[in-house]
């Protein structure tokens, strides 16, 4: 039996005070085991982004406890949260958030700069991460604004891998991509999960995307609606398996 690496106990999050108080999360309890591929699904306004910020140590809950890798993260200061993010979390964003006019290789090795790793060592790890994210070697020294959206997202995935994170957190990773490149990105996540045992949490509002995960947690109005194993798991195709449509 694998260990629980994420444990959320009755997490509540409210913004504002007194009469203007808005309760976004109303008591969320769940746990995620190492090596799981979980999709957190819900419509906009359901609180899934707020949950993602708490899971990603970008924010702390108003009440409740959040254990990441056995450490209570829910009451840390901003500076301590930065340490947690640097050591344990890999982010993939909808808008990629790569540094423009900067090479792919440097973009990928950026998190390691803040870990004070020497350049040579950093680039070795970045190259391995790029290979794991199925990013073609020919483009390693291209600037990030010279490559396609699908490639950009694979650079972002490689960047999320370099610190060997406990958790990869992907926020609508296919939101800015067409269905074909979206499928390639989902394939990358699935292969990282299945072949390397990476724990992946995917936040999305599209049921189709969520169906690529092993387990789907449904959030609605700040509560967990359903939390069940996905029995109809879709397997995303690799780039070479998708037929060209000649358009």
């Amino acid at each position: 039996m694998k260990e629980d690496i994420i444990v959320c106990k009755n997490i509540k999050k409210a913004y504002g005070m007194g009469e203007t108080e808005v309760v976004v999360l109303k008591g969320i309890t769940f746990s995620i085991k190492e090596g799981e591929f979980v999709a957190i699904m819900g419509p906009s306004g359901s609180g899934k982004s707020t949950l993602m910020h708490i899971l990603g140590a970008l924010d702390t809950p108003t009440s409740g406890e959040y254990f990441l890798d056995g450490k209570d993260v829910s009451k840390l200061s901003d500076e301590e949260l930065a340490d947690i993010r640097r050591e344990k979390i890999g982010f993939v964003f909808q808008a990629f958030n790569l540094l423009p006019r900067t090479t792919v290789l440097r973009n990928v090795s950026l998190p390691l700069i803040y870990a004070n790793m020497p350049k040579f060592e950093r680039e070795e790890i970045a190259k391995k991460a790029l290979a794991d994210a199925a990013f073609p070697e020919a483009f390693w020294l291209y600037h990030s604004n010279q490559i396609s959206g699908g490639m950009m997202q694979r650079v972002a995935i490689a960047r999320s891998l370099v610190n060997n994170p406990t958790l990869i957190l992907a926020d609508e990773p296919t939101g800015n991509l067409d269905s074909k490149t979206g499928e390639i990105v989902l394939h990358t996540f699935q292969s990282l999960n299945m072949k390397q045992g990476k724990t992946v949490v995917l936040i999305t509002h599209e049921p189709y995307v969520a169906e690529h995960a092993d387990r789907i947690i449904h959030i609605m109005d700040g509560n967990i609606l359903t939390d069940e194993k996905n029995h109809r798991k879709r397997i995303a195709r690799n780039e070479k398996d998708i037929p060209h449509d000649n358009t």
Partner: protein
């Protein structure tokens, strides 16, 4: 983040928008360059004034008669016109402690004639000690001797301007000392033989030593003035610079006693110390230098505000980048340091270019206008640190603003 990484990140951030970085830097370049150039002008003129006062003679104390005054409501005449300073006073001064040499002087303006040419010039009757006291050098021929003074010989040493005016008055020709030495000139009708020509010194701001004729004191008294009663000035050389104040005080006391003046507040003479002239002159030029530096500092301040403006724009433009950096684990200090490094790199580079340009400008100013300039190392170091400090001061607020951004909001920023 290691220093090397910080430098690389900063370099790439600054060079991304070269035109904007360049224009922002220009403010600092102009500020630093004008500080360097204007201070160089100020210090150069300070040095040249000090040098020309020094050329009057070393450790010089000058004694001049005071204003002629009568008791009651009599008419007061100009300072220096009183006939109170006598040759005996000069002899008495010579016996004071730490007095190296004493040169009594009588000066007046006379019409001077050589053949068909004439000039109106200053004639000074003095003793050979004058050569030493006033640091006078004879280029050709000789200065007159003590014998010439005792014998009241009619000999004259002329300045280069007098030489030119009397012996080659047309503009194109230039007179050589050979043309003058041994020739006879008439001063106020008396025939003097020219025995020497002095070295050209240029004006000192007090009098033009080149437009001058020197004759033995006694010859002046007997033939030109017709009286041996008074002197127009006594120049005294103190033995050391430290002794100047003491010599000045001793002369004052001696003359008060000799002239029977009880009230030391109203002497009939003035004793001027060369050091005090130098310090007055340099305090004037010092004020001038400070003023120039202050004006230049204003342009530096404006340059600094330009830096702050650009950094604030950069922080806004790169909000998402800052959000990302924070999301992947950058701490507040990492972000602060990164933006501070950018502004310091801009001001530091600007400062370096400014120093070079300011230096070149100082050289150009002295070539074009002839004003002496002196670029001093302390000011260059100061400019260096000031430019770095401007980067830190004006970069700090934008950098803290960047570091204080909430990563969630920064990532969402459009």
């Amino acid at each position: 983040m290691t220093t090397r990484d910080l430098f690389e990140e900063t370099y790439s951030a600054v060079t991304v928008n070269k035109v904007r970085s360049g224009l922002t830097m220009l403010g600092i370049v102009i500020g630093i360059a004008s500080v360097i150039a204007l201070v160089a002008v100020g210090q150069g003129s300070q040095a040249s004034i000090a040098a020309s006062v020094d050329s009057l003679g070393a450790n010089l104390v000058m004694v001049t008669p005071g204003a002629q005054a009568t008791f009651g409501s009599g008419v007061r005449a100009a300072a220096g016109s009183a006939q109170t300073l006598t040759p005996d006073d000069a002899t008495a001064i010579a016996s004071l402690n730490n007095v190296e040499a004493v040169a009594p002087e009588i000066s007046g303006r006379y019409q001077v004639v050589y053949q068909a040419n004439n000039a109106n010039t200053s004639v000074m009757g003095t003793t050979p000690a004058y050569e030493q006291v006033r640091n006078l050098q004879v280029a050709d021929g000789d200065f007159f001797t003590d014998t010439d003074v005792t014998d009241s010989n009619l000999v004259a040493v002329i300045g280069p301007t007098v030489l030119q005016n009397l012996f080659a008055p047309s503009v194109n020709a230039s007179a050589t000392p050979d043309m003058a030495i041994g020739q006879q000139i008439r001063i106020s009708g008396n025939i003097f033989t020219v025995i020497g020509v002095t070295v050209a010194k240029g004006g000192t701001g007090f009098s033009n030593q080149d437009d001058m004729i020197y004759v033995p004191l006694t010859a002046d008294q007997h033939y030109l003035l017709g009286s041996s009663a008074y002197l127009t000035e006594v120049d005294v050389e103190a033995s050391t610079q430290q002794a100047m104040t003491q010599v000045q005080n001793d002369i004052t006391n001696l003359l008060l006693q000799r002239h029977n003046i009880a009230n030391s507040q109203s002497p009939d003479f003035t004793v001027l110390n060369q050091a005090s002239i130098v310090s007055t002159a340099s305090s004037v030029t010092g004020t001038f230098t400070t003023l120039l530096a202050a004006i230049a500092a204003i342009s530096l301040l404006v340059g600094g505000i330009g830096i702050m403006n650009m950094m604030l724009t950069t922080v806004t433009e790169r909000t998402r980048e800052i959000g990302l950096r924070k999301a992947i684990g950058a701490k507040k200090n990492d972000i602060t340091l990164q933006f501070l490094a950018e502004s310091v790199m801009l001001t530091f580079t600007g400062g370096l270019i400014g120093i070079v340009l300011g230096w070149l400008a100082a050289i150009a100013i002295s070539l074009v206008t002839g004003v002496t300039t002196s670029v001093s190392i302390p000011y260059i170091l100061l400019a260096f640190f000031v430019s770095a400090a401007i980067g830190i001061i004006f970069g700090y607020y934008p950098a803290r603003r960047a570091a204080g951004l909430n990563p969630i909001e920064a990532l969402r920023y459009e």
